[in-house]
Symmetry: C2
Subunit: 102 residues, 2 copies
Amino acid sequence: MANIYTHPDLDELDILTVLRALADPVRLDIVRHLHSLGEASCSTLLASRPKSSMSHHFQVLRAGGILHTRIEGVTHRNTLRLEELEKRFPGLMTAILAASGP
Amino acid sequence: MANIYTHPDLDELDILTVLRALADPVRLDIVRHLHSLGEASCSTLLASRPKSSMSHHFQVLRAGGILHTRIEGVTHRNTLRLEELEKRFPGLMTAILAASGP
DNA sequence: TCTATAGTTCCATATATATCGAACTATAGA
DNA sequence: TCTATAGTTCGATATATATGGAACTATAGA
């Protein structure tokens, strides 16, 4: 297991990568939950899905600069990189998090 | 050929559909070009790609509420639905259009 | 009515992405 | 050192999406 994660520098991320990370129902769900919870472990967020699936989605979100994973003992704490995202893509996350269903 | 298009009511569109429409390099390109041109025909925007491919992308963007197609004689004029999108998802398109490369 | 142009639709194929079980790793605690 | 827990990695399969050729349609203009 990788006991260290690489979090991309947001300056090197293009909007397309960010949008692709967000354009998935499971991941959008993760993002919304993380937003309301502030910080959460992976297992808190696996909605009866296999761990391997969730691990994949977390990886995509991490690579897309959306969240930061901090290892604390045996659990991994995830937080949205809201401030950094706001600096890089002003208004983007605000707009997405504010959006409610149809 | 359908000589009439159905443009979805933005109130019935969820953010996921919008994000998925935008999370593609070709379509993001179309959106950016449309933004700088104001209005453009499909053929103006087909960057040496087959018409069938572009037609598909325009369809996705249309279904995602991103653009409006108006038929004028033999050409189809496309415009971004910026005002409506701004009302439905405030700040979203502004953020995406403002984003520059990495 | 013939032709050219703009764009769509259909269909098959390619490609990317998601899903998920099984085996693995890393840490905490008994 | 043994066990339980949290999460990753691998690999195989399923599913969605993109691509693009060919045939089609609709309109304008000669």
